[in-house]
Subunit: 584 residues, 2 copies
């Protein structure tokens, strides 16, 4: 098939297949798109093995069941209900055989309480008249249900279709995360939940919650309510304990771990609004508590000289590790600039008199601080993650401390090699700072970054447990988080889930376009990746007073455009959020 | 006041003044913000003359009237109703005198049908116990009402306040536009209307509607319904005549002109789906209608050899100029690449045999085409705007053709000088292509671009009638348009409205932050410009089942956060849109 033919096919398909499909286009003839068009109903991220046929089945939701051999497990029951709702678009086609049921067979039917690092997410899927989803654990079922719901598409006349397909799938990396910073801007609860939805559509399994920072302290502590009372932007810019339970539960039902980060010893100015003594007094011009601009503030960095600092941290982390059930807690430990410590004569005295170190060994002081915090947290039986900085400064920590590599966006391989060669396991985020934006298809650079593309042995590479797309929120809040993150983070999702050889960006663009339209249809305002449109639906095109049951049921054929009663941007968002609050 | 004191004041203000104010912050002490903090209730764009006092009045909406000497003019009546609704937040403070009424005095009480280039938008405003707004025309009243509603703010305890203020104001430039491309992506009607809201909050007065292009033809023609039937992305990606009337009416009530663009002879591939003969057959390898990739398509550029092309255009523009009431129509005429014409032997014969030109004088052919189209449109008694390209290629046109300078983003001054020196009036958009994005505060570069910063006499500079922020929609649709455009376009708004000496970006950042929070409160998802928050409200933080009457009435003090019944992203959007559809 030469390029002329391909382009004609593209044009034909544009007006033949609708709904959850996207149609990227360029000035179609002069500048044709590169890469291989994807079939409708192509899943994202790409499964490990996918055998798709052109044999097409119909789907009639009135006559379709999902059954499972797991009894009384809310993860499975609510997962099935969620995906049945997502499948509820399109109508049957009596000229085709229909897929009548999907039977789920789980090897280990235990309803595990929470997802965890290394949980078994593998599954096999046979899409046929009697479809079968097999998995070893309930977490694999969730991933398989997501894939199944992505295989379904509709025709131009609104008929639901699924092609006979065989899939064998498992993730390439165990840790596939999104890091959100909720301190530079507060991200309201409904947006966090919608982001968890989007994560589940892309098989992410970790929400790394960078919950506090210099700018604000929105975490409402039980033991120390003054932290948010004084440190939050305002009384309403706070995550209550109820909010946090809602997030953790919403994530659990989607097989997503919530790893909270309380970043110290730097990035803690908001903590000082609660208790200034938690921070080190900085000196300038012979005065205590005076800032030297562009070097240090009046008070900053946790104060390692006072035992009260560590007592406080012990109490705080004791609370935090019970509020967040995941096995891991993230301790930050990045960007501990030493200017403030160096300005303080008491710190220098402490270094020599108490620690027996050189008076200017601030790295030694940093390590002293970190080791004490690691000891505190180890008493809670949690495992820990830290940013790479202290390791590069020579910190010796237990080898089960996970190290997150974030420096050198373009040239992170040296950083990764150093961390790995020192014997640690690692998470990569350097190349995936999605808050940085540039014009055009920057998803391609995220897609091209591979956590294994560094010099190391097979054993060493096996110590890379995954990666995270990071969103620092200097310029991000509820107004733009979801549209900025999606579908750019989807590129990271496929890199972390799919085999490394699935790496052709041109081919991927067609599937990514489908995936972004799928997300739009499901209420995520994922931005476009190029000229084009989403089937017969784009955000803002709801054309009647929509009831919750109408989600995914509007089609151009059934709803005349002239019937505008309530045309609303974000009705999907509204409805989805109403549903969210039931925490199904 | 030294920097320490300023920063303490900043911190105090953060927790004292709420609501429509924004609080940008940096890691507050180590990296302080530059510039002068703005008082609460600072208007954007900055008025020509603003005398604000610290004498504060209360506002009690139950006991506040807006009266006018204009009878039976919907622009005034609906404008007053709109602004009263926007003022309906905060409660009274009995310890202060209240502003009791705002009396509007218009010199020319004529209820002019449509806004127009050069309409009188000047006004004076005295905010006092009996406030007064004086204007020469109804359009000045709209601008003054907008300013008045921006002067009102609330305290931390929810009390509505306005400082005694005197304002003398008028725009620096007459043409202050936003150009939206609705062809690369379809932008649904509700989003267009919300964008008109945002424009009115920033005193823009032109919506330049780039309605069709190569990629799609969403304009539903009365005379040629096949244009959108064949050329739109899908049957629902279409602007009906009703939709267009809605847009024009919604804009009129806000003093915004709608200038439609039908761009020819290039950018017309979607037209060819309706009638291929409208386009020129391109030749390649001796075959007619064959593409040469990266040079030309199979058919492109309007066909200037056929009289039927011009007959068609005459009928189309006859319709278009009656559908869009503005005095101007935009004819495009940009980027007419000659490859296709050059490939076609019939074109070369036409050049010599019919036009008597050199067989390779494709610029001559382009000018022949443009002059015929200008003649056609002049018969409709419309004035015309074209992009700069043909003028630079030597086109001689009537001097009342307005020329839009768009080339050379960073070095547009030569382009402007050429257009102006050839005797034309101009609109600047080169430095305001807001679809291009970069990380951080790129609004500062837009703010720093001044349409008068080129070499020219005072008379020449007076021929710059204004500017436009352009949004080409390769990567933009309903998911991200509003958050990407606002508040970045606000920077352009101030440059075009306010005196040229209001140009300190550091000072502006505080007022822009207020303006962005004002927009968020009014339902525009304007993105943040730096770390911080909006008073006691950010998008996504609605905390009860909101009724339309609740717009701008939720405060932290009256609505406990625990009362979450319906927490919704974009409820404001929903409610605003419900209101929109009444076209008030």
């Amino acid at each position: 098939m030469d390029i002329h033919q391909i382009l004609r096919v593209v044009n034909v398909i544009v007006f033949c297949v609708c709904f959850v499909n996207g149609y990227i286009t360029y000035i179609a003839i002069r500048l044709p798109l590169q890469g291989e068009m994807s079939a409708p109903g192509s899943p994202w991220p790409h499964p490990k093995e996918l055998n798709s046929t052109t044999q097409t089945l119909s789907l009639d939701m009135a006559d379709f069941e999902i059954g499972s051999n797991v009894i009384g497990c809310d993860v499975i029951e609510k997962g099935i209900a969620r995906h049945k709702a997502m499948l509820g678009f399109g109508h049957k086609d009596d000229t085709l055989h229909a897929v009548e049921d999907l039977q789920i067979h789980v090897e280990n039917t235990s309803c595990q309480a929470y997802p965890y690092l290394g949980m078994d997410e593998s599954y096999t899927l046979e899409a046929d008249q009697h479809a079968t989803l097999r998995a070893n654990s309930i977490w694999g079922v969730l991933r398989g249900l997501e894939t199944f719901s992505q295989l379904v598409y509709t025709t131009a006349t609104g008929q639901a279709r699924i092609n006979k397909t065989s899939i064998v799938d498992e993730p390439r990396f165990a840790h596939r995360g999104i890091m959100l910073d909720t301190a530079r801007h507060f991200i309201p609860l409904p947006v966090l939940l919608k982001n968890l939805d989007a994560m589940s559509y892309n098989k992410f399994n970790v929400f790394h919650w960078h919950i506090v920072d210099d700018q604000s302290f929105p975490y409402q502590s039980i033991r120390f309510p003054g932290l948010s009372h004084k440190g939050a932007y305002s009384p309403v810019h706070v995550y209550s304990q109820t909010d946090i339970k809602t997030v953790v539960e919403y994530a659990r039902l989607r097989g997503i771990r919530v790893i909270v980060e309380f970043d110290t010893p730097g990035h803690t100015q908001s903590w000082g609004k609660f208790d200034r003594d938690l921070l080190t007094p900085c000196w300038h011009n012979g005065h205590k508590g005076e800032a030297e601009y562009n070097r240090h503030g009046e008070y900053e960095l946790m104060n390692p000289m006072l035992n009260s600092t560590f007592t406080f941290l012990e109490e705080l982390f004791s609370e935090v590790t019970s509020v967040f059930p995941d096995d891991y807690v993230h301790l930050g430990m990045d960007e501990a600039y030493h200017y403030c410590w160096a300005s303080n004569p008491d710190v220098r005295a402490f270094l020599t008199n108490v620690l027996g170190l050189n008076a200017s060994d601030f790295s030694g002081l940093e390590q002293y601080y970190i080791r004490r915090v690691l000891d505190i947290v180890s008493k809670t039986h949690k495992k820990t993650i830290i940013w790479e900085d202290p390791i590069e400064k020579g910190l010796k920590a237990d080898k089960d401390v996970l190290v997150e590599v974030w420096r050198n966006e373009q040239n992170w391989t040296n950083n990764m090699e150093e961390v790995i060669q020192r014997g640690y396991s690692a998470i990569l985020s350097s190349c995936w700072y999605l808050n940085y934006i540039s014009y055009g298809q920057d998803w391609r650079q995220y897609y091209s970054c591979d956590p294994h593309h560094f010099n190391g042995t097979t054993q060493e590479k096996a110590r890379v447990v995954g990666g995270e797309a990071c969103v620092w929120s200097e310029y991000i809040d509820a107004t733009n988080l979801l549209s900025r993150l999606w579908p750019r983070a989807s590129a990271v999702a496929e890199r972390l889930w799919s085999p490394g050889h699935i790496n052709n960006t041109d081919d991927a663009s067609f599937r990514l376009d489908q995936q972004r339209c799928r997300m739009v249809r499901r209420g995520i305002p994922a931005e476009p990746i190029l000229n084009g449109f989403c089937g017969d639906y784009d955000l803002g095109m709801e054309t009647e007073a929509v009831q919750p049951s109408n989600i995914c049921t509007n089609t151009a054929t059934t709803v005349p455009k002239s019937n505008i009663v309530l045309t609303v941007i974000g009705v999907s968002v509204l409805l989805q959020t109403v549903r969210i609050l039931r925490v199904d």
